[in-house]
């Protein structure tokens, strides 16, 4: 109980300090002399966010870049960390896994999400069907990790299985399997978890896009005698192309940063590590901040082209309008 009061007090004090700071800013900018009031008001509104971003994001990102060229003692070592990353077998496995993740997750999550959105479009109980697939979006990666480790749980062949997947194997007369331990396929069983989470996102966005297709276009295609498949390929896909690209890029970026699933399900052992997890391991567990920083930088470089492509596309669309 005492414990709870202490925590409550911390929150109240935190909120009070924040309110005081904001109140003070508002008070000062409103009382400023007329001549400089406008400028002061603008500064007062922008400063807190801009200072936080500069000190907490821009500066650290630059420092991380520098850090990636140093070793554990802080001495400059040139490209050593990067050479380590591209030559050491275990680091190479990490890079390979990240590539596998980033190819499979966006493809399957968007594909299944799109198929599902089409299947349930205007179907009975559409809302409920949507909610079921969408629900994993609200569950934390850690929670999803527990849920799926339970699905993959292993017991020896002589025992009753408690994991659903192994039970299915047994029903089909197979030996139970250590889904998370056997490389290289264990990576795919981790990937399944992220697909399970991201499909709902793809489905909701694409479903909204499909509902936005003008009825006349669909009707015209139908009158021309287009089959459902032709309609899907020649009407649906081109019309929702913009949303499709947004979905794929958003999931791609999310996949590149995937950390929690790997961390909680295998901790990156058994050849399942990915860049974001290895970054944490090197920087905060192995005492190699230089290597961690280099991995963070690689992550940034991987995200960059995806975002640039997306931004370009957005600009083009605006020009067309």
């Amino acid at each position: 109980m005492e414990d709870l009061a202490g925590k409550g007090l911390q929150v109240v004090v935190g909120l009070a300090v924040f309110a005081a700071i904001i109140g003070l800013i508002m008070l000062v900018v409103d009382r400023a002399p007329k001549s400089s009031r406008e400028k002061l008001q603008i500064a007062g509104f922008l400063a807190p966010a801009m200072i936080l971003l500069a000190v907490g994001l821009v500066l650290p990102a630059l420092q991380t870049t520098y850090l990636s060229f140093t070793d554990r003692s802080g001495a400059l070592v040139g490209l050593d960390n990067y050479i380590w990353m591209f030559t050491q077998p275990e680091a190479l496995v990490t890079l390979r896994n990240t590539v596998i993740w980033v190819v499979i997750v966006p493809l399957l999550a968007s594909g299944i999400g799109l198929a599902y959105a089409v299947f349930i479009d205007k179907a009975r109980g559409e809302k409920a069907l949507k909610a079921l697939v969408f629900m994993p979006m609200a569950i934390s990666f850690v929670g999803a990790g527990v849920i799926w480790r339970f699905v993959y749980a292993y017991k020896g062949p002589e025992q009753d299985q408690i994991g659903l997947f192994n039970q299915i194997l047994v029903w089909f007369g197979q030996e139970p399997k250590q889904f998370l331990l056997d490389a290289p396929e264990n990576t795919f069983f981790l990937i399944a978890v992220l697909i399970w989470i991201q499909t709902g996102f793809a489905m909701v966005v694409l479903s909204a896009a499909i509902k936005g297709i003008p009825t006349e276009i669909v009707e015209a295609a139908r009158l021309d005698g287009a089959s459902a498949w032709q309609q899907f390929r020649n009407v649906t896909i081109p019309t929702i192309r913009g949303s499709l690209i947004v979905v794929v890029t958003t999931i791609t970026i999310g996949t590149l940063k995937v950390f929690d699933i790997v961390r909680t399900m295998t901790a990156g052992q058994y050849e399942t590590s990915v860049v974001a997890n290895e970054m944490y391991t090197q920087a905060f567990r192995a005492g190699e901040p230089g290597r961690g920083a280099a991995l963070a930088l690689i992550l940034f470089l991987m995200v960059l082209p995806v975002v640039v492509y997306n931004a370009r596309l957005l600009r083009k669309q605006k020009e067309i309008r």
Binding site: D3, L15, L52, A138, S140, F150, V151, D260
Partner: protein, 320 residues
């Protein structure tokens, strides 16, 4: 996989039954083309596959320990036993071996609520100026903020931790003391700001200019306009983004691992659950109940506020 609807739709659509209210004739015909019994079956199969893992865990969390470890949860239909012991076990304080989840649950709330409020207020203030302020370099600064979204937070973690624990410390005084929630609040706020500013700006910029001009003519300053006009009008956007920020922070693990230092004083429930998986990965009676304690809040938010949730998702997905 997209080929499935076509195969089925082509032959079966005439038998399709009408559902729901009367749509106009044209829509009705379109509807017949695109849905079919086969597609519905495929959809139900996907829905079942997507739901079963969570359902299995949920059922298991109410089974006695011996049953969970002894046989699969699908046996519950023949071997029915119901208990709340798992939940009592994970929630009660007990010794150092106990999961003690209630404490961590409180921590999660104590981290997430201020973290969300700070991000919303600071983000909305900045977004308002980017939308309606007049100053030099506004557009370039806004582009910089937008671009910051692509910096993975991994890029900032190591230096930010040093900043909190070394630079912002004078003697024994820490501006953001470690072992409290303060570091987590600030870190979460920083990482949430770029997206908050961008999304809220898009919404606030759409507010009709006449409303704001009228207030200005009446002599209202920026703070009056912001609190009296912008915040009330932008409430739907604030709610949508707020819900997302709330869920992200609740579900976060990485920032917590770096800044909380662990332990029942500060660490959130996700971190504790991750620890339990690592140290006692076979204790399914604890993990199942624990997982449900941790996802009950996001699920409640999700089902209770689904409308805002979807709206926020679309705004973020389609514009970001």
């Amino acid at each position: 996989m997209s080929a499935i609807p076509a195969e089925n739709t082509r032959d079966v659509f005439p038998e399709l039954k009408e559902t729901g209210s009367e749509p106009p004739p044209m829509q009705r015909r379109v509807k017949q083309r695109l849905t079919s019994r086969g597609a519905t079956i495929a959809a139900v199969v996907i829905a079942v596959i997507w739901t079963i893992p969570t359902f299995g865990l949920f059922i298991s969390s109410f089974r006695p320990e011996a049953n969970i470890k002894g046989n699969g949860w699908w046996n519950v239909f023949t071997d029915f036993e119901f208990t709340l012991a798992n939940y009592e076990d994970v929630l009660s304080p007990g010794g150092s071996q106990s999961p003690n989840l209630l404490s961590y649950f409180v921590n999660s709330l104590a981290i997430v609520i201020p973290g969300t409020v700070f991000t919303l207020v600071l983000g909305a203030m900045a977004a308002y100026m980017f939308a309606w302020g007049r100053f030099k370099g506004k557009d370039s600064l806004f582009i910089v903020v937008f671009a910051l979204q692509i910096v993975p937070l991994q890029m900032a973690l190591i230096p930010l931790l040093q900043l909190f624990n070394q630079v912002l410390t004078i003697g024994d005084f820490q501006l953001l003391p470690s072992g409290t929630y303060a570091q987590l609040w600030v870190a979460h706020t920083i990482f949430g700001l770029p997206l908050a500013i961008f999304l809220l700006h898009n919404f606030i910029a759409e507010i009709p200019g006449e409303v704001i001009e009228a207030a200005r003519v009446d002599g209202a300053g920026h703070s009056t306009i912001f609190w009296r006009i912008i915040v009330p009008l932008a409430t739907p956007a604030l709610a949508s983004f707020g819900i997302f920020q709330f869920l992200w922070l609740w579900n976060d693990l990485l920032v917590a691992l770096v800044f909380s230092g662990g332990g029942a004083d500060v660490a959130p429930i996700t971190q504790r659950l991750a620890e339990l998986q690592g140290s006692r990965g076979g204790e399914w009676q604890r993990l199942t109940a624990g997982a449900f304690v941790s996802i009950i809040v996001p699920l409640a938010v999700f089902f209770g506020l689904q409308r805002y949730f979807v709206r926020g998702l679309l705004a973020g997905g389609l514009k970001g």
